[in-house]
């Protein structure tokens, strides 16, 4: 009985370790080929557009409403302490350091990341990846490296857009609905937000860009058989990327604070 349990546990652990190993090899291979020319610039531009165009609307919408909700909630909390003048910096710091990078990364994962996994997964099951390999070409150069670079470029940009829209969303609620003065909102942001906060947000969104493109490409590249395999890979990619974003956010946050 105990031996059976240990056997099952051992098998599970070995399977997980193998998966982790293959994920690590996949990431290192992608990084290696990123620095080994030639880079496919046209494909990189195409994937930047893919990430951007797929996610822009959803990032703008969530950014605006996050800023607006923050304004509502923080205003009532800060007013209890007589600190409602600090609403601007509270919103800006929450967005720039934390919510901008995390929420925009989660939105991009759901929108573009899932589409990326499905696209690569379909290429796998329809033997398009095998076709590239059989031509003596390296599929990493065409499918993985452009996405990794596009992720690193687009995530900080989308996060910045999220931050700006969020701050203006907060401004709209704070000034137009809650009666805070326009000058107080922006001048306090200027006083309390410095470059270090922007850098923390930037490091976070850069690393989220790597995580999302890595996981989504890996899951698509190693998809199972048929439509069911692609659908499973897509779900796993979104779930794993989202969980890793939150875990990494805490980890990097505790190091950078």
């Amino acid at each position: 009985m105990i031996l059976d349990f240990l056997r099952i546990l051992g098998r599970w652990a070995i399977k997980r370790l193998r998966l982790l190993g293959s994920m690590a090899i996949f990431l290192f291979s992608a990084i290696y080929y990123t620095f080994e020319p030639p880079l496919k610039y046209a494909l990189i531009l195409k994937q930047i557009r893919f990430f951007g165009s797929k996610s822009m609307i959803v990032v703008v919408l969530t950014g605006a409403f996050t800023g607006m909700v923050l304004a509502l909630q923080l205003f009532y909390t800060l007013r209890k302490f007589g600190s409602d003048a600090l609403l601007g910096p509270a919103i800006a710091l929450s967005l720039i350091r934390e919510l901008g990078p995390v929420l925009s990364a989660l939105m991009v994962t759901g929108r573009a990341g899932s589409a990326l996994t499905a696209e690569i997964g379909i290429m796998r099951i329809s033997e398009q990846i095998d076709a590239i390999i059989s031509m003596a070409l390296n599929p990493f150069r065409y499918l993985i490296v452009p996405n990794l670079i596009a992720g690193i470029i687009t995530f900080p940009l989308l996060s910045a857009i999220f931050d700006v829209i969020g701050i203006f969303g907060g401004y709209f609620v704070a000034v137009n609905l809650l009666g805070l003065s326009e000058g107080t909102y922006f001048s306090q942001i200027d006083n309390f937000v410095d470059m270090e906060d922007v850098k923390i947000g930037l490091y976070k969104s850069l690393s989220f860009g790597v995580i999302v493109s890595w996981i989504c490409c890996f899951k698509g590249y190693n998809t199972g058989y048929g439509a069911e395999g692609v659908s499973k890979a897509t779900t796993e990619a979104v779930v794993l990327s989202s969980v890793l974003i939150l875990i990494w956010d805490y980890f990097i946050g505790s190091v950078l604070l």
Binding site: S126, E127, Q128, D130, A131, I133, S134, M135, L137
Partner: protein, 241 residues
């Protein structure tokens, strides 16, 4: 040209290839026949180096693709042209870009030379006015033709056909078989065809090998196969269980 020796492959402890040996001569077209799920496509993937066997060797022009890595593996694969079962055309590219892809990525030909080669390849497979269509806009037969044009565009020494006529009507089936014969005549490649099409494949192949329970049951000319007394071959050719 190709020497396969004692090839063994298991999936989930089940033998798919079980000590398979086969010799393929330069310039011939050999058809590999056998029951569905019998390991024919698995054998093909081993020859391309997409799968690694549990044991055995596959020598292609003196290089063992099982052990080959890096530049050697690339050198071996440069000899190949592969027509995959579903065509494996790139969805996001037009027919022209699909056929031109190996030339753009592997040669230093200029735009005009590539255009000329692609047009010739498409004419060879009987296609005109499809250059700017996407694979989704083509019929099954047209997709196979485009895939054949792409497989032949670099004038490979070895062309592998994975069930090139599956899912096609009898007229299109014969058309694709004729196409394989005519392109073979023109380019003189060594061809390996995985096929279910009995007896049509006998008109195309120089030799036929039958795969049964992970091994080559019989190999010979189409006439030898048709006249074989082997009970497994007779059952397969007559379609009996």
């Amino acid at each position: 040209m190709i020497e396969i020796t004692d090839l063994t492959k298991t999936f989930d402890k089940k033998y798919v290839l079980n000590g398979l040996s086969l010799s393929i001569r330069q310039g011939e077209i050999i058809a590999i026949i056998g029951r569905s799920g019998g390991g024919k496509s698995v054998l093909l993937k081993h020859i391309i180096g997409l799968l690694k066997p549990d044991s055995g060797s596959i020598f292609i022009k003196g290089h063992d693709i099982v052990k080959a890595k890096g530049k050697t593996l690339q050198h071996i694969r440069n000899m190949f042209g592969v027509l995959f079962q579903g065509g494996a055309l790139f969805d996001s590219m037009t027919v022209f870009d699909n056929v031109a892809f190996p030339l753009k990525e592997k040669t230093k030909l200029n735009k005009n030379e590539i255009k000329e080669r692609v047009n010739t390849a498409l004419l060879d497979v009987g296609l005109t006015d499809v250059e700017y269509k996407y694979p989704a806009e083509l019929s099954g037969g047209m997709k196979k033709r485009v895939a054949l044009a792409r497989a032949l565009i670099t004038e490979p020494e070895l062309v592998l056909f994975d069930e090139p006529t599956t899912g096609l009507d009898p007229i299109m089936l014969r058309a694709i078989h004729r196409l394989i014969q005519s392109t073979h005549k023109k380019y003189n490649f060594t061809g390996i065809i995985i096929s279910h099409e009995i007896p049509e494949i006998f008109d195309v192949a120089d030799r036929v090998a039958m795969l049964h329970e992970g091994k080559i049951e019989i190999v010979g000319t189409p006439d030898e196969i048709k006249k074989s007394d082997d009970i497994i071959v007779r059952q397969f050719l007559s379609g009996e269980a």
